[in-house]
Amino acid sequence: MYWDRECETMSREQLEALQLERLKLTIERVYRNVPFYRQRFTEMGIKPSSIRSLEDLRRLPFTTKQDLRDNYPFGLFAVPMSDVVRVHASSGTTGKPTVVGYTQNDIDTWAELIARSLVCAGATKFDVVQNAYGYGLFTGGLGLHFGAERLGATVVPVSGGNTQRQLMLMQDFGTTILTCTPSYALYMAEEGQKMGLDFKKMPLKAGIFGAEPWSERMRRQLEEKLDLMALDIYGLSEIMGPGVAMECAEKQGMHIWEDHFIPEIIDPATGEVLPPREEGELVITTITKEAFPLIRYRTRDITRIDPEPCSCGRTHVRIKRITGRSDDMLIIRGVNVFPSQVESVLLEFGETEPHYLLVVDRKANLDQLEIWVEVAEHMFSDTVRKLEDLEHRLRERIESVLGISARVKLVEPNTIPRSEGKAKRVVDRRQI
């Protein structure tokens, strides 16, 4: 079953011809409309006419998250704001998010790709999709929402949180497809069990889980506890949002929709393109986006490409589960967290360089973030009230910067291990 048989199953030759044609148009568009790219290309002696084959892609410079920040908020948009119908944003390290924009065409493409992705999970217009991804600036909620409507399914736009209500709606509305982060799905499963819900008697058939790393072990747990087929979805706001790649029922990796995105795997240290099947950093070039095209965007996600034909019949290559990051970003409860964000908060509170550690744990299937902060002399007070007040203020400030709550724990000086060279800022104890 396909949503768009022609696009999903076209031959490699056709697909590559389409990619090249669209890549050329994209290069022309950014060269013409985005001064940042024109300047970069000019520095490297590249003109749109230099791109004659897909191989030429690797001659182009990378785009990084820092480039997005440097051009905050709309500097990399390739269309006038009058053509931008929506913006989304991801959290930023220093309080400034990275902003992305969409034309109506971009929104339509996105909805198409989500509809494709939903069909990968066996969804049809007869399904009830309970969308528990967060709505708002985060792309998860609205992205899934418009795609499920495009498919013609019944969407329950419940957003994240309020688990009791989620479970009530799931029963009362006869939810068949659940979309949320895998850890939240597990949490729902366990809360449901406590309430005496029997998921085997409920019509749930598939879960589309993404926005954070998960594993085969979690897949087994989810499938067993919720009695559904659990599939992985991949996306990032910079490229589009969810639906850049989606697993099919074969569960052998996520088909990256190559008629819209060109994936490459590079060595994160050297930037050199690696051959298929080798693990490295995923780099994506968008080839249909109008408002916010990106050339060779370094996702920082570590994975590999599996070019083997898939028995589902889709010809688009698959990327394997994301196994890590090439930077120090953490994904906690679906939210991107950089240790440098915590550092910036601590610097606001004290005049010296703070020593701190982010300790991440998963308890009852929910990510817990604890931030250990060494109490420097100037922060210390001999009254409990003042220290608790410090903890409280740190917690509030960190929550407003990270967008998630964290427990702040004051620790004695020199108790956070110093390492030679790069400081170790994260202890991730999650067993995913």
Binding site: F380, D382, R385, V411, P413
Partner: protein, 143 residues
């Protein structure tokens, strides 16, 4: 009229208090009085010692987060209502007590109560006006 108190930040881990006392003992510093305020994660150890400046230095060198705070030590008659009389004076003067702890003197019958207040000088004046004896730092360190 002020007494220097040494405060130390301690995580709630076994052996930390023992370590503080060992550092002091190794350096020949005698503890006169001690109190701990604790929360789930951490405690604040407050000490009156015979040589606060040296105590501050050696603890800091041993890697502790230390601060020195001025407190007042008041002699309270060792009989029912003794402390109440002192507290009434502070209340009348509208002075808030951050914390207090008490210890007994070996020689006399009087108890000593250590007060930490925001407005130290006002507290001293109010107590002295009522004839309450406040000990000097030297007196306390030499106890």
């Amino acid at each position: 009229m002020k007494v220097k108190q040494i405060s130390i930040f301690l995580e709630n881990k076994s052996g930390r208090l023992a370590q503080v006392t060992r550092v002091l003992g190794d350096n020949g510093i005698n503890i006169r009085a001690l109190a701990i305020a604790d929360t789930t994660d951490f405690g604040i150890l407050r000490l009156i010692v015979n040589d606060p400046d040296r105590a501050y230095r050696v603890l800091k060198e041993a890697g502790f987060t230390v601060s020195a705070t001025d407190v007042i030590a008041v002699e309270v008659v060792d009989k029912p209502g003794g402390l109440a009389g002192v507290l009434a004076v502070l209340q009348e003067a509208n002075l808030n007590i951050e914390y207090l702890y008490a210890f007994l003197q070996k020689a006399s019958k009087a108890a000593l109560v250590v007060f930490r207040v925001e407005q130290l000088d006002e507290a001293i004046a109010a107590l002295q006006a009522k004839g309450i004896r406040i000990l000097s730092g030297e007196e306390v360190y030499a106890l």
